[in-house]
Each structure stands twice: as structure tokens, then as C-alpha cells.
């Protein structure tokens, strides 16, 4: 069981989760309970999906890095569309997410 990695408190930002509505997405077929309107990359990170793939040559991992759409390291497959930057989209009920695996 991966602990919820979200901030519990912040001196400036409101990070309260009380009363927020939940939606369910699926990551590689596994249901994931996340907050409505959450950025997909944040929802993945909060649930332990920090590695979003590996370089097939070196084996090194990639995952969310810049968080603002520049680096493309957080790309995943969403509802069949490949290489979607998870830091740029919000979760939606029933969203099907796949971590990209690339076999040589």
C-alpha cells in the first residue's frame, strides 16, 4: 500500500482535501481513487506512480520533471492516445491511463 504522498499542510497554499469530490481513473487497469479536477501527473505521483517509463537503452527511469509541459518526461498513454503530457491534463471519471512500456 502506497501512502498518499499529497501535502497535508502548506504555509501558503490551501491543500485541504476535505469535502473534495472523488473520481476513479484506471492506471494499467488498476482503479485509482483521485480528486476531481486534479492534474493527472499529480494524481499519479500521489499514488506512487513516480516512474513513468524507462529508457530501453540505459534502463534509467523518467517521470514528471518540469511539471509545466516542457520536458515531456511525464508522458503517458491516455484513453489510447500516446505521449500525452500528464502534467497538462486533469483527471476525468473513467480515464484509462497506461504507463508506456517500450520493448526493443
Amino acid at each position: 500500500m502506497i501512502p498518499d504522498l499529497r501535502l497535508k499542510s502548506h504555509p501558503v497554499l490551501d491543500v485541504s482535501t476535505v469535502g473534495r469530490r472523488h473520481v476513479t481513473i484506471a492506471v494499467d487497469g488498476r482503479p485509482l481513487d483521485v480528486f476531481e479536477g486534479e492534474i493527472l501527473a499529480a494524481a499519479l505521483w500521489a499514488n506512487g506512480y513516480i516512474s513513468l517509463g524507462q529508457n530501453p537503452s540505459s534502463g534509467s527511469h523518467h517521470g514528471m520533471y518540469c511539471g509545466i509541459g516542457h520536458c515531456y518526461e511525464c508522458r503517458v498513454t491516455v484513453d489510447g492516445e500516446e505521449d500525452v503530457r500528464s502534467c497538462l491534463i486533469r483527471v476525468q471519471e473513467g480515464m484509462q491511463v497506461h504507463i508506456q512500456k517500450f520493448e526493443i
Binding site: 529508457n55 530501453p56 537503452s57 540505459s58 515531456y72 508522458r75 500516446e82 505521449d83 508506456q100 517500450f102 520493448e103 526493443i104
Partner: protein
């Protein structure tokens, strides 16, 4: 006391391979770089990794053939995975007018001993599944290929170090100490380094270093742009070129497609900073989709640029400098230095150990500019 027999200035593909082959030949070598190998903004960093023989000027074809023979054994020689693939390269065209020119080039290169032939229509498309159906003819050279430039330079540097080469990074060369027309030391930001020979392999930045010794290298700096796409399953073995469209395309072993071909960006030679031109990126991406349609919709993950030295006749300057004993040029490769880098390094090692400059390097000496190379 001498600190080295040879100081090699510049740790790109040319300098690193030269340092390696010199040490292999038994010389005491120091390799210096103003920063460190393959850092941002440099020519090897901007290299698309093509290891080709075809499409060179005729006088460079023998050097290309020689160098590819070295490449074939290079991974074993350096004991490193260079992601080298010798799966061929084909330069294609859909333009009736270009077919005759392509055919002439192939004949010329065949006469120079290159294994290359013209392939048409169904044979062409059989060789390259996924090629745009509009392409009609290609020049297919089965011994061309591609490799990873960063891995290759790093492998040369590590192998050079294993053979005793001293490495000095953040050690920019500023000029030379000359006595009686003979070079005795290289001036660097870290002081003077005594040597018998200096090999100037600092790409565009060779120009300023040579100018300090009164030598005029007719170089211009061009920043060339590169792109790499997201990974896709293997579908392209060969390197693809498109006549007159400035595209080179290859798929790396990690699955990304690398798009190069000399698209201009902007570069600052003082700061090494480069700037991408979005219009140039978009046009090269569009052109590439016209060559290999299945790339449509694959995102470009990254684009970058690096500064290459283009010599006025687009040929490198290699060999000794008349009137300045001990200085040897190896710069100005004008966008086609990666494949021939190991060949040049090997032949320069032969030159320093035997005194004989290979006929393969003779077309590239600075004397081709007459007396114009030295400042009045």
C-alpha cells in the same frame, strides 16, 4: 621539460579520436577542452550521428571509406557500446530532374570504390518499408549507418585515458608560444603547456586560437538544429536522406527518430548558447513527414542546436601549417566530421609517427587557400 609530445585542443569527435590514436601509437598526449567533452553548443553535440560515406565531395570519399572500416571495429576497439548500426543509408528523390544527378553521383562514387547503387521503385520500397510512396529512386550504400555521438566521444575519451592520455577540462587554449617558427607550447587559461606538437581540433573556436598565431581560418559559425521524437517500435533500420530537402532521418536503438539535415538555428559563439527557430523546426518536421509518413502525429520530444564551423569551401582544414612547425590543424569539418573523425584521428597519428601525411588527407591542407591563410 616537455609536458607532452602532443597537446590536442578540443574534445569533440576529432580531438578525442586523435588523442586516442596518438596514445595508441605510443605518444605522450594531453587532451584539453575549454569546457568538457560534448558540452552544449558544440558541433559534436549538434551531430545527428550519421556515419556515411556517400554524398561527400569526391576527394573525401577515400577518407570516408577508410574511416568506415575503422567504425566497423570501433566498438570492440574502444570496448564500449556506441549504438553503431551499419544498416545502410539511402538518399531518395521523387523529382525527375534529380534522378539523373543522383545517378551521376552514384557512378562517380562507384568509380572511387564505394559500395553504392541506385535502387528504383519496388526495390527501393522493399528496402525501406514506410518510405513515402511518392519516392522513386534512391542511392543505397549498405555500409553506411549511424551511431550515438555522445557515447562515441565519451568512449574515445575514456579509452584515451586508459592509454595514458592526460585530460584537462575547463582549460581553454588561447594561442601558442612560438620560437624560431617552431611551436613550443600552447597558451591556455591554466598557463602554458609545453609540447612538441599541438593539434587544433576546437571546431569553430579553432579560428580564434589560430588567429592568435596569425593564421586566418576562413570559418563561419552555423548553428544547426536537431530534433528527436518520442519512442516508437523499431521500423527504420537505414538512415534516410532526401535530395535537396535537407533531411536526414534515423531511428535510434532507444526508439526515437532523430531528424537532422542542417536546419539553421542561432548560436552565440562567445557564450555557446543556442536558440531554436520554431519556423525552421516546423518546416523540417513537415518535410520529414513527407519523407516517412508514419511519423505524423509522433510528438517531437526535444530539439537542440550546436555550433559547427563551416569552412568557405565546406571542407575541413587538416595537416601542418607552412611556416609554423608543430601546429597541426583538424577543424572546420563543415557539418560532415562525425563519420570521418576516427579516420582523421588515425591518419594524424600515422602522420606524427612516420612524418608521412596520408594522401587521403592531402586535399584538406591549409595550403589550398594559397598564401591567404596567414595574416599580413
Amino acid at each position: 621539460m616537455k609536458t607532452a609530445d602532443v597537446i590536442v585542443i578540443g574534445a569533440g569527435i576529432v580531438g578525442s579520436s586523435t588523442a586516442y590514436y596518438l596514445a595508441k601509437a605510443g605518444l605522450k598526449v594531453t587532451l584539453v577542452d575549454s569546457r568538457s567533452p560534448v558540452t552544449g553548443g558544440s558541433a559534436t553535440q549538434a551531430c545527428a550521428g550519421g556515419v556515411r560515406q556517400q554524398g561527400r565531395v569526391p576527394v573525401e570519399i577515400p577518407l570516408g571509406i577508410f574511416s568506415i572500416k575503422l567504425w566497423t571495429d570501433l566498438e570492440a576497439e574502444l570496448d564500449e557500446n556506441l549504438e553503431y548500426r551499419q544498416d545502410g543509408m539511402t538518399v531518395v528523390t521523387d523529382d525527375e530532374q534529380q534522378i539523373a544527378r543522383l545517378s551521376d553521383r552514384v557512378k562517380r562514387e562507384q568509380a572511387l570504390g564505394l559500395d553504392i547503387r541506385l535502387v528504383h521503385n519496388s526495390e527501393l520500397h522493399g528496402l525501406i518499408p514506410g518510405l513515402s510512396p511518392q519516392m522513386r529512386v534512391g542511392s543505397y550504400c549498405p555500409t553506411d549507418g549511424h551511431a550515438n555521438p555522445m557515447r562515441t566521444v565519451n568512449a574515445f575519451v575514456v579509452a584515451a585515458q586508459r592509454r595514458g592520455v592526460r585530460l584537462k577540462w575547463n582549460c581553454a587554449a588561447k594561442g601558442f608560444v612560438v620560437e624560431n617558427n617552431r611551436l613550443i607550447a600552447v597558451k591556455t587559461v591554466a598557463g602554458e603547456l609545453a609540447c612538441r606538437y599541438a593539434i587544433l581540433a576546437a571546431g569553430y573556436w579553432s579560428q580564434a586560437i589560430a588567429a592568435a598565431a596569425g593564421i586566418n581560418l576562413p570559418f563561419q559559425a552555423h548553428a544547426l538544429q536537431m530534433m528527436v521524437t518520442a519512442r516508437r517500435p523499431p521500423q527504420l533500420d537505414q538512415v534516410l536522406g532526401w535530395v535537396s530537402n535537407g533531411i536526414s532521418l534515423k531511428q535510434m536503438p532507444s526508439g526515437g527518430f532523430v531528424i537532422g539535415g542542417g536546419w539553421p538555428g542561432r548560436g552565440n559563439t562567445q557564450t555557446y548558447q543556442t536558440r531554436l527557430l520554431p519556423g525552421s523546426l516546423a518546416k523540417s518536421a513537415r518535410t520529414t513527414v513527407g519523407l516517412f509518413p508514419s511519423l505524423a502525429g509522433i510528438p517531437v520530444l526535444r530539439a537542440w542546436a550546436g555550433i559547427e564551423a563551416f569552412c568557405e569551401d565546406e571542407m575541413q582544414v587538416v595537416g601542418s601549417v607552412p611556416g609554423l612547425d608543430g601546429l597541426i590543424m583538424a577543424a572546420g569539418f563543415s557539418g560532415h566530421g562525425f563519420a570521418v573523425g576516427p579516420g582523421v584521428g588515425s591518419l594524424l597519428a600515422q602522420y606524427l609517427t612516420t612524418g608521412e601525411l596520408s594522401a587521403m588527407l592531402a586535399p584538406f591542407t591549409i595550403e589550398r587557400f594559397g598564401n591567404d591563410f596567414s595574416f599580413p
